[in-house]
Amino acid sequence: MYKYDQYDQAMVDARVAEFRDQVRRRLEGKLSEDQFKPLRLMNGLYLQLHAYMLRVAVPYGTLNSRQMRALADIAEKYDRGYGHFTTRQNIQYNWIKLEDAGDILADLAAVEMHAIQTSGNCIRNISSDHFAGATADELVDPRPYAELLRQWSSFHPEFLALPRKFKIAVIASEADRAAMKLHDIGIRIVKNDAGELGAAFYVGGGMGRTPMIAPCIREFVPLDQLVTYAEACLRVYNRHGRRDNKFKARIKILVHELGADEYTRQVEEEFAHLLDQGIEPPRAELERIKTFFADPAFETDLPEDIDRSDPEFALWVDRNCVAHKAPGYVSAVISLKPVGGIPGDASAEQMRLIADLAKRYSFDELRVMHTQNIVLPHVRKADLHALWSALDEAGLAAPNLDQVDDIIACPGLDYCSLANARSIPVAQQISERFAANGKGKILGELKLKISGCINACGHHHAGHIGILGVDRKGVENYQLLLGGSEADDTSLGKITGPGFDEAGIVDAVEKATDVYLARRQDGERFLDTYRRIGMEPFKEALYG
């Protein structure tokens, strides 16, 4: 895990002091709300439906147990005993007081955490593969590159008032577990023919009201030019991104309107210029960062066998444990999606338990997944039963990774002031329905994602089944989408037709899965069947 040195600590501490001062000036009336808003957003503080909301950064989704415990403490001390893990690997608190914000940031800084640039029109927290450093299919661990970019983007003076928010994801494998092509910049660490590492840049992806898949604008940027290339991408965007219309201000619109070729040409021109400016970090910095991400001391000669005599445990192992690069280990997913629960919410007690388990069974390391679950990345197979028993007792052993009830849901109208409709109750009813009718067990991989409005925080465009909340004359209404994917085979879902009311959408999801069950061929997932047979049979079942 990355550890702060005196410099990182000094910067985070300075930020806490700066924000305390800004809050003071706001309360004294020296700053209007219009002036204060971008400042608080850059410290993760929103004004939401019931109170202020604080979004805390979990850089590249990696945490240790001490940090997780601090998050639990904050939930109890300043909030109402829980937090919500988000699709960008962060955590949000829903009941924050402005007057407490400075103290919370100070508590975070004490455990090397912060809320810097978790909102606002700036470069946001950088996300990465939740199995980084554990999966066998990665070229290298992508997190050192994400950390280098974290430093570069933190308080970057030129990019603090961008046309719109800017999200970066870094991965280093063919498999995409971070929705990389749906980010403003997606970076894939690759090897060229000469065997050197470099970065492929995908620019201009995003969800929201105009979802777009990022085109690759450069297949290989040498690693000692990574920061310079990113700076060139950002400068072209800052200078030329649209500012006349908030809904057209993301970089995806710039890339789309200019065309990927012209945008690339401008970036290359800026890049050539910036190469002479000497902005690249010394190579030794990347090496320094890498040492923090060295493998933990994996034991050798561990048993591979797992005692599967308890069927519930065996099911959990099959569903929630993922192959690891080290023999005798797996990555174990802790589902935050119990049947009827609130997707992504965790209580302070649950956070503490998860922290303890990470300390005991996973080299003190945790990951937040973009699917709003938690991973213990390095668990010995021999410890799995003990781990599972502890999770089961706390209601954290739902065996549903990538199943129909592993639903991504944004906060929706229960918490979010931009929402058209509630997301969480729909998620709850769907998971209850599929538990009650038993179909949840036989559906296999099915990614269901719900957003409460067109902003798409719940990734509905990228769900095998997506649900979008809309406002129909003041009444909640839900559109159904089919065929999206955020994985390596990225695609955007299509709307089936007219929307449904709250009860209707749950029925509609069940009907769509019935079509799949009736028509699937050997080994096909829902998405594969949809891609093979197309929308018509689903429409027929839904509206025919």
Partner: protein
Amino acid sequence: MKIVTGNDLKTGAVVWWTGVDWSIHVEDAVDAGEQAEDIATREEAARRVNAPYVIEGEKTAEGVRPAHIKDRIRALGPTVRPDLTLKPADPTAGNWVI
């Protein structure tokens, strides 16, 4: 009726204009009539409220009812956490929202 609502600047709590002050209980909201926008502007300038806005609502037998579901959720609390609403002891309180 015209209701003025917003959030408390320091705590972020949802508040309703009572005619003289701000209350966290929507039942205390008054019809601000023609003055609604002026009240919002004046109170925000005095930092007694943050991000105020004017909504439609009606007086019913059960009390003041904001016209839009969003403001009813603001008035009560999240429908998915009855324990965190203003009426934690009333399990049917959520029905009012919908």
